[in-house]
Symmetry: C2
Subunit: 431 residues, 2 copies
């Protein structure tokens, strides 16, 4: 099978790594232009535009947008109709995700100074958020849980989910997940027009305050465009994994971990870093052997050939440097002392420590959200979390004594900035 082999001892390693990990996050002109038209049309025509796009883009002609809404009763019925083992798995996963996120809540605080002045911050949940759950090629009930539960834990007033349903078809498991995750309203809408409906609102679809969740290039561009009018989580790129292995993990396990990332889509990126060239050979041979058994073998083959790599390093310290340069969405530390290695990692969306923690467990049920920063954005961005659905308001309450001393500082600086009204407003509060 065709997969790149790199070594840090190659003189052009940095350039090769950069070429491999480069992902142009800009939309093409065609996407930009199409999205711009869709946003304008939904903003001005509302429901009429949604009916048009549902028919032309989602192949789902309906008479009213209300027909695109799925009732909570239907979601609940889908949950009750599930195979009991599927239902149990979904509910166990949801319980764990909920439990993890309980620990993420930020709380309000206030502190009083000696002169009676009080400073603090008030933390409140967002009122209404939109959640985009991709569909199309595959249905992802896990994405419903991973997006909606952090919002629910934050105390969001209303969670509005949208999901594309080409031809009106939607996975019962996705509906069931919406019931488990306490989604308030669900519309069968996908693509840029769904983002537009959430951002601007229509007669039928309520406008939200923030939109989260990954989508295709059109969805990403639409989110980028409506940012400012509403909040967004991030602009997601293709999914990626970096596995650092000390060469002591069963090659089958490692091969399958790489496959699990590569099977997402042709742009997904799976990288293995190891100090043992022999182990890289073993994993490559194992992948050759296992690939024909895989249901999504063509996608795996394509993404490994286009974006995968087996990278030989001098030692694990150098492996950590490679990981920091890549700032991977998922980082597996398949080594004997994973905590020691984790201490060297500065940039990663999620770290999976030890041989018994494959990314797949995190994707479904460990607890943290699987919505993670991609394409090196882990340098500055965080996993989707409760903090995405809370906001802070600063609180300042000056006592008369506090106002007297603070207004002197403020007035002095205001005069220096030439802002006289600021200075005089402060001076009125002096004794």
């Amino acid at each position: 099978m065709d997969i790149r082999r790199l070594s840090t001892t190659q003189p052009d390693f940095q350039a090769q790594l950069a070429a491999l990990t480069n992902w142009d996050d800009g939309a093409t002109h065609a996407v930009e232009s199409a999205v711009s038209d869709i946003l304008k049309r939904v903003r001005s025509e509302g429901d009429q535009a949604l009916l048009y796009y549902s028919k032309t883009l989602d192949n789902y002609p309906v008479d009213t947008v209300a027909q695109l809404e799925v009732s909570q009763a239907r979601c609940q019925a889908a949950l009750e109709a599930l195979d009991p083992a599927d239902r149990e798995a979904l509910e166990q996963a949801a319980a764990r995700v909920r439990d993890y996120h309980q620990h993420q809540r930020t709380t309000s605080w206030q502190r009083e100074e000696s002169d009676g002045t009080v400073l603090g911050q008030q933390v409140t949940p967002l009122e209404r958020v939109g959640i985009y759950v991709p569909g199309g090629k595959a249905a992802y009930p896990s994405s419903v849980l991973m997006n909606a539960i952090p919002a629910d834990v934050a105390g969001v007033g209303e969670i509005v989910m949208v999901a594309p349903a080409p031809g009106g078809e939607i996975s019962p498991m996705v509906l069931a997940a919406a019931a488990v995750a306490r989604v308030d309203r669900l519309f069968l809408l996908g693509g840029a027009h769904a983002i537009a409906a959430l951002a601007y609102g229509t007669k039928t679809v309520p406008a939200v305050d923030k939109i989260v969740g990954p989508g295709n290039a059109y969805v990403a561009e639409a989110k980028r465009r409506v940012f400012g009018h509403v909040g967004i989580d991030m602009v997601a790129g293709p999914s990626e994994i970096l596995v650092i292995c000390d060469g002591q993990t069963d090659p089958e396990w490692t091969a399958m971990d790489l496959f699990s990332q590569a099977e997402h889509d042709e742009d997904a990126r799976a990288l293995l870093v190891c100090p043992e060239a022999r182990y890289l050979d073993d994993v490559q041979a194992t992948m050759e052997r296992l690939l024909p058994q895989m249901e999504r073998s063509e996608i795996i083959r394509e993404s490994l050939s286009r974006r995968g790599a087996l990278i030989c390093v001098r030692d694990l310290a150098e492996a950590a440097e490679v990981a920091n340069a890549i700032a991977p969405e998922h980082l597996e530390l398949s080594v004997i002392e994973p905590e020691r290695l984790a201490a060297r990692i500065h940039h990663a969306g999620a770290i999976f420590l030890g041989r018994y923690t494959p990314e797949a467990i995190g994707d479904y049920c460990a607890g943290p959200s699987h919505v993670l920063p991609t394409s090196r954005t882990a340098r500055f961005a965080s996993p989707l979390g409760v903090y995405d659905f809370q906001k802070v308001t600063s609180l300042i309450h000056c006592s008369e004594a506090g106002a007297d001393s603070l207004s002197r500082i403020a007035a002095r600086l205001a005069y220096a900035e030439g802002l006289t009204a600021h200075a005089r407003s402060a001076e009125y509060r002096q004794k």
Copy 2:
């Protein structure tokens, strides 16, 4: 003086309020196109492009970009040369801002489950951030403190500040503030090309991971464009204040508080909400009387006429509703029991409680950052804070026992999603 009077008893009040508070956050086509060119040119030509724009846009021709850098020694010298009272005010403000933000740090946590599985989150500071400090019409040393100190408290490795210096002139107070706030590097660069330099890096200006700070329309559009490649804080609109008064505050105080917002620029918005029509009359007459004394009277007159309003409400509960609809950047509660009223506020950047807390004190020295969400974005956004300069990495470490039970849940859900490699990757970890 010309200022709009509104009353919630008017049948078209909602429409009038919406018209008044509407702010089109989209850039004009001319701005979009200019910014797109600047970003491309800086990305491809680096320092050469910066020299070109410094000459043509900033009227500051230099031979090398290194000449645009201001040394820490020069900032320290500017601090030492300040009038001692200015220096004391700057240092007192900085100390208070630093103290407030110490309380905002998020910490890492881990928890172990009964089967030995460990979940947690690792919180780390960003490595390098860029801070945009506007200049031009006015110099804002306070903005240096309010942007840089939260980054410094977060533990950011390197703080790179840019500030426009038309003709090479920069306020000594801004340089002094950079020294007080522990800015690591400072370049005299403004506008979209400064944002491009920070986002992409050039030979001389280092690429950063996140860019924060307000700027003009070109800066805002440039930040929006580079978002994803780097992090940004928000896309800032014009500054705004909403004062809720019970009619018992000295009208001069209230008039000057409104002026302090209106003096920023012609797009700034100052609104007063009160249940007493007579008090609104008093404040209006006071503004008439005080306006000629103000140094920036023309700007104040223009912004109050274009964007200001005196709004009569039925009671304070209705005043809170108006505030929530507007989600103001700054909200003064100039009333007898401000805490009671604050409990009704869901959306505001910062709340200034009581008659002795004018916005000006918060602008300079109370403690919280004065970089706040504008244009109704307080529905979903927070003040600039330490959390903007920290990021989270999720941690998952399964024990063998934990992996056995979790992999069963994961595999079940993965099969349901048609992701076989995920399922098999999990199954390898079953006993």
